[in-house]
C-alpha cells in the first residue's frame, strides 16, 4: 500500500542501520513513547539489529494498558446494567478488571458492543431510545477528536440516551513524569507520530529545552523508526536537544487545528491515574461542565466500587521502561495473552504481548 510499503524497504533499513552504527560512540537509552511503535520495533526485530550501544526503552503509550483499574471496574459496572448498551473499542474487551473482563460480562448476557468509530455509538443510541448507550472513551490525543465529536454531535442532535465514560490520557505529562522519576535513564524520545498529527509538536519544545532531551516525532514503519533513532542519536552525539520531525509526510508543527479546536471545546485537562504508574498531574482529559449531561460518571452512580490489582504483575514498571517483560516471573507462565494478569499482556501494543507474540520467550 502506498505510504506503507516504501517505508518497509529492506535496503533503506540497512542504510539507516549502517549510518546509526557509524554515528554512535557510546551508550544511549532512547524511549519510543507509543505502543504502536513498540509493536513495530518488536515485530520487525529492530532492537536486535541496532548496535549494542543503543537501548530502546518501551514507553507508556498504550491507552489500553494505562487505563486505570478503577475506570475499567466502572466500565464493567455499566456493562452489567440491564438498561445499558456498553460500546467499546475492541481492544478493551479482554483487559482484566478486578472481577473478569468485558467478554465475560458479554457472555453472561451484558449488551457489550465493539465499535470501530465513536460515531457508530450514535447509531446505536438512535436505534435504541429505551436504552442508555455508554461509550468507553479512552485513548491519547489521537483518539480525542473522534471521541469529542461523538459528544458534540449527540448534543447537536439532542440524543439524551448517550453518555461517555472518559478515561483520556495525554502524552507530554507522562513524558515529564518519566523524566522526573528518580533513576530515569531515558536520554531521548521518539515522539508519537499520530498524537503529533493531531497536536503538532509545540508543546514538546519546552520539554526538550528544560530536560535537555532530543525529541524526534517519528512514524511507525521500520524505516521511520530507524530514521527517528538515527536523528535522535545524531542529536545525542552532538550535544543537541531539539524537537525534530521525522514523520514529515503526516505531521506539521501546528498539528490539525480543527481537531485541536474540537478537543478544547469538549474536554478540559485533569489529573489522571495511570494503571501501574499512579496519578500524573494534568495528564488526562475530562468533559467540560457544559457536557455534564453526557458524562457517564455523573449520569450513573458509580461510587462504592472497590478495585484490587493482581500482585504478581509488574506492568507498571514495564510501562515506565524501568523493567522489561522478560524480567517478570509471571511472563509466559501464569501470564499469557490468553490469561493476562495485566494490561501490558492484553493489548497487541503492550510490551509484554509484543514480546510474547513475536517469540521473545525465555
Amino acid at each position: 500500500m502506498k505510504y506503507l510499503d516504501e517505508f518497509r524497504n529492506h535496503d533503506l533499513a540497512q542504510k539507516l542501520l549502517a549510518e546509526i552504527r557509524r554515528t554512535v560512540t557510546r551508550p544511549w537509552v532512547i524511549m519510543e513513547v507509543c505502543g504502536g511503535q513498540t509493536h513495530s520495533i518488536v515485530k520487525y526485530g529492530l532492537d536486535d539489529l541496532l548496535p549494542p550501544e543503543i537501548e530502546l526503552a518501551h514507553g507508556p503509550g498504550c491507552p489500553v494498558c494505562v487505563t486505570a483499574l478503577e475506570s475499567i471496574d466502572r466500565a464493567h459496572a455499566l456493562a452489567r446494567r440491564q438498561d445499558a448498551i456498553f460500546c467499546s473499542f475492541g481492544d478493551m474487551l479482554r483487559v482484566p478488571g478486578s472481577d473478569g473482563d468485558l467478554f465475560q460480562i458479554k457472555a453472561l448476557g451484558g449488551d457489550v458492543r465493539v465499535v470501530y468509530s465513536p460515531l457508530d455509538c450514535l447509531k446505536v443510541a438512535r436505534a435504541n431510545p429505551a436504552k442508555s448507550v455508554v461509550f468507553f472513551a479512552i485513548g491519547f490525543e489521537t483518539t480525542a477528536p473522534a471521541n469529542a465529536m461523538s459528544v458534540w454531535q449527540a448534543r447537536a442532535e439532542g440524543l439524551a440516551n448517550y453518555s461517555v465514560l472518559v478515561s483520556h490520557v495525554t502524552v507530554p505529562p507522562a513524558m515529564t513524569a518519566i523524566l522526573e522519576s528518580p533513576g530515569n535513564r531515558v536520554r531521548a524520545f521518539l515522539g508519537a507520530g499520530h498524537v503529533c498529527a493531531v497536536m503538532g509538536w509545540e508543546e514538546y519544545e519546552p520539554l526538550a529545552a528544560r530536560y535537555g532531551v532530543p525529541i524526534v516525532v517519528t512514524g511507525f514503519e521500520p524505516v521511520d523508526l530507524l530514521e527517528g533513532i538515527l536523528m535522535a542519536v545524531r542529536q545525542l552525539e552532538s550535544g543537541r536537544h531539539e524537537v525534530e520531525n521525522q514523520y514529515a509526510r503526516a505531521v506539521v508543527r501546528e498539528g490539525n487545528p480543527e481537531a485541536r479546536r474540537m478537543i478544547a471545546q469538549v474536554f478540559e485537562p485533569c489529573d489522571r491515574a495511570w494503571r501501574g504508574i499512579g496519578m500524573i498531574p494534568g495528564s488526562g482529559y475530562r468533559l467540560r461542565e457544559e457536557f455534564a449531561a453526557f458524562d457517564a460518571e455523573r449520569v450513573f452512580d458509580l461510587d462504592g466500587i472497590v478495585s484490587h490489582e493482581p500482585e504478581a504483575c509488574i506492568s507498571g514498571l514495564v510501562l515506565q521502561g524501568a523493567r522489561r517483560p522478560l524480567d517478570c516471573p509471571a511472563f509466559g507462565t501464569s501470564c499469557t495473552p490468553e490469561t493476562p494478569l495485566g494490561a501490558t499482556m492484553v493489548s497487541a501494543e503492550g510490551a509484554c504481548a509484543a514480546y510474547y507474540n513475536y517469540g521473545r520467550r525465555r
Partner: protein
C-alpha cells in the same frame, strides 16, 4: 491504539450535516468522517484513525524523505 492507516479519498459526501468520505485502503473501502480535514479532495491520501481522517499525507514530503535516505551512504562515503 493510535494506529492510523493511509487511504485514498474515493468519494466525498454528507451524512446529514456531517462531512464524510469513502476511503480506499488498498482495495478495502471504509467510511471516514472528514470534519477535521475539510480541505481534503478526492484522490488525496489521508490518515484515518477511529473512523476519522486526522491528517493529509504529503506526497512531496514522503518523496523527499525517501530521496534523503537513498542518498545516505553516498553522503557518508564523501565525508
Amino acid at each position: 491504539m493510535c494506529l492510523a492507516i493511509p487511504g485514498k479519498v474515493a468519494e466525498l459526501y454528507k451524512a446529514g450535516s456531517v462531512s464524510m468520505a469513502r476511503v480506499d485502503f488498498g482495495g478495502i473501502a471504509r467510511e471516514a468522517c472528514m470534519v477535521y480535514l475539510p480541505e481534503a479532495r478526492v484522490g488525496e491520501y489521508v490518515l484515518v484513525h477511529a473512523g476519522f481522517a486526522i491528517t493529509k499525507m504529503d506526497e512531496e514530503e514522503a518523496r523527499r524523505t525517501l530521496a534523503d535516505l537513498q542518498a545516505l551512504d553516498e553522503i557518508s562515503a564523501e565525508t
